[in-house]
Amino acid sequence: MVANEIFTQARHPTYVADINLPLTQSYHPSSFVERGVAIPVTTPALLGARMRPAQRTGTEFIIPNPSGGRGVYILDWGGVRQLCRPTVHDTLLHQRVGRLPNMTPSGVRQIAREIAGEGLAGRDARRAADAAAQADAKRVLLANFLLLMTLVEQVEPTGMVVQEAMKRTPELELRARQAIRQIAPRVSAHPTAIAADLEVLASLFAHGGLDPWGQSPRLIRLVARMRDFRDRLIRDAQQTPDEARGGLAASLVTSIATFIRCAEILIAKAHGRLADVVGLLGAWHATPADIQTTIARPDWLLDGWEQICLLAEDPASVHDSHAVIEEVAQLVPLLPREAMEWLGGGLTPDALEPSQRAMEQAMPRRHGGASFGLVARNEKLRAMGV
């Protein structure tokens, strides 16, 4: 059986006893939108929260059962505030994400970075947000240039290898202009419009973390980090077997493997569109939403894994796999039924089935005096992942 969901036993009933909110016992989203977008919160009690549009209240939160037990809370902002005292960072995040016309992982990431840039997740996060924004701007420029070069080479092959280290030269720019003029009739667009479309497409690939030319696009890097985490779990289980957490570690390993396999398929599909840039431009003109969807799917699929990898890589817990396992267990994203449709034959129905449950001992650290340290820890994670 392929693990899709990690459950945990309630170990701290004294904590949950005073939460008078309805708990959704059986929760399995049918679509990625219904699963919600992972929200990079700093409030300890909200770790692992997702947000999605809601008809009546505008937005709602899906929060793993804080007791560590089965199920999730589905709450509006008022409910969230009954559950805990959200930080200023998270309050602003909720307000601004709620105003997004389309709630997507990319949109949430952008807003979270803006808030970090305002200094509300601490000075480290602010510096990291500034640096990340500059790096992204450069990345989009580079992606635009390299997409153009890919087009040039496809229109007039010369054996040129399109790669990150390429330099802009007058000759290359001339070839680019000629190539765009040449394909304009085939895509039924003016050369100026084609140049603008290439910019947008390059931006979609770059912001989606998928531009294939760079050394380490975000999503490719994320998959590599998930692989590292999986290997570490396997290694640690072999070196220091832990009867109590062994099943949970195995379940995590299986979940990671499933998501990696799905991600590889979706990333290949998105990259496949670049094998024919002229065709891509034509399709973009005809049905831009389809192209956007194809490029965004890996981001939707892996949404939530960034936080898990950050927790696993946190220097404070890197030597304690067992503690990491317990903390990330609740955060493992579900795989909605829509994934079957996205992946075609790449996914069998049992991958959607929930897997085992495990104990959760880390929960008390989220409360009492220790919660202040946890907010600081979560802010450090924001600085690492902004």
Partner: protein, 414 residues
């Protein structure tokens, strides 16, 4: 907190010790560095003895030496020889040097290999300590357990008859030190089954070591009292011995330790602001376990008295920390180079909140609320500057008094 400079009978040492007590933190750290670098510390240890609580708070990166590593697990029960009583689950400080000499002699060349492992590291390097401890503790335990009384035992100031039981206790526990340390370093309470197995092994080898083992376990993980109490009636395998007498002795030792003059205050005042919340939580949990409903009435009364001391210590520590670590730097140090001053203020504010949150469970919260509101007001009124922007102030207010006040400040209500 007032302390005697030293109990030494040597007037010169008393005079130096008094001077040290009055010295600033920087000067104290400098002197400790100097003493740590001495080949033969001799009387220097006596001079700095009264500074131990302060050193615990300052946490100087003291070199990790074989001797220091050898007794690291015993830290919570090491007491000045003047406070040591036979039959209590404590270890007089004066025996350490003698037992370390016995260990070195027994280890021979293996001691040098361990010294190489720890060379250049400090006591704060936990991974190195655990690795080197794995090389040192089991062998040292066997050596001390079996060794005859050393010739220099008289330097400990104790009668020779105290050596055999002390050596058996230290030896038996060092043999299990790797297990004990590994169990307690994971940040969560150990599995009761593992605790039971550990106590079984110790009890079968040296029953007199059981109370000490329990004190060491419970000091670091107070909730273990309940687990140990549950297994106290069962007899050890192949023996008529149960854990009950040892547990009673451990509980008495723990209670008496906390009743010592300044003991609670020392635990709360000798840790850094970053760690004081956890320290309060540990003491508070320990008191809860020691004075629960099953405890005899006289002990419950003793625990109530200790709780009052804890409450007073928390309040004074909070007031000290607020003034020294938050308000003073806020008013004067924002322009100082080095670590980010705002991040230091945030750390201090978090430490204060962690202390206050845990301390509320011990006494009331009104004093804390008032002081925190005053501190937030000072932050609000601090002029904006390059060193501290609006977002920094909002964050400090958030840590001190909560997100609602911080949001109001952000939205310009204040």
């Amino acid at each position: 907190m007032t302390r005697q400079p030293t109990r030494s009978s040597d007037p010169a040492i008393r005079a130096i010790s008094r001077t040290l007590m009055e010295a600033g933190d920087e000067r104290v750290l400098q002197i400790v560095r100097m003493i740590d670098g001495m080949a033969d510390r001799g009387l220097a240890d006596e001079m700095i003895a009264p500074l131990r609580p302060r050193l615990a708070r300052l946490r100087p990166p003291r070199p990790l030496t074989l001797d220091r590593l050898l007794f690291t697990i015993f830290d919570p029960i090491i007491v000045p020889v003047t406070r040591w009583r036979p039959g209590t689950a404590t270890l007089p400080r004066t025996v350490l040097r003698s037992l370390a000499a016995t260990t070195r002699a027994g280890l021979g060349s293996a001691a040098r290999a361990i010294e190489e492992t720890v060379k250049g590291h400090t006591v704060n390097d936990r991974d190195v300590a655990l690795e080197a401890g794995g090389l040192l503790w089991p062998g040292a335990g066997e050596i001390i357990f079996a060794a005859p009384a050393p010739l220099e035992w008289e330097t400990t100031g104790l009668n020779m008859s105290f050596y055999p039981p002390l050596a058996r206790v230290v030896g038996a526990l060092l043999t299990e030190a790797v297990t004990l340390e590994t169990m307690l370093s994971g940040g969560r309470d150990p599995d009761p089954r593992a605790i039971s197995a550990l106590l079984e092994r110790i009890g079968l080898r040296a029953p007199e070591a059981l109370p000490v083992a329990m004190v060491l376990l419970v000091t670091r993980a107070p909730s273990l009292i309940a687990s140990i109490a549950q297994m106290a009636a069962a007899k050890l395998v192949g023996s008529e011995v149960t854990l009950r007498p040892a547990l009673d002795q451990a509980i008495e030792t723990l209670t008496a330790q906390l009743e010592q003059a300044d003991a609670v205050e020392e635990r709360i005042h000798s840790v850094s602001l970053a760690d004081v919340g956890s320290a309060v939580r540990r003491v508070s949990m320990l008191l809860q376990q020691l004075g629960d409903d099953s405890a005899p009435a006289p002990r419950r009364e003793r625990i109530k008295a200790i709780r009052r001391q804890l409450d007073a210590s928390c309040r004074s520590r909070f007031a000290d920390g607020l003034t020294t670590d938050f308000i003073a730097p806020l008013r004067s140090n924002l322009g100082v180079a080095g670590d980010d001053p705002v991040e230091r203020l945030e750390d201090a504010a978090r430490g204060l909140r962690a202390l206050e949150t845990e301390a509320r469970g011990v006494g009331g919260g009104e004093t804390y609320d008032k002081l925190l509101r005053q501190a937030a007001e000072i932050v609000r009124q601090t002029p904006g500057a390059d060193a501290m922007g609006r977002a920094d102030k909002v964050r400090l207010v958030e840590i001190l008094v909560g997100p609602e006040a911080a949001l109001a400040m952000l939205e310009g209500v204040f």
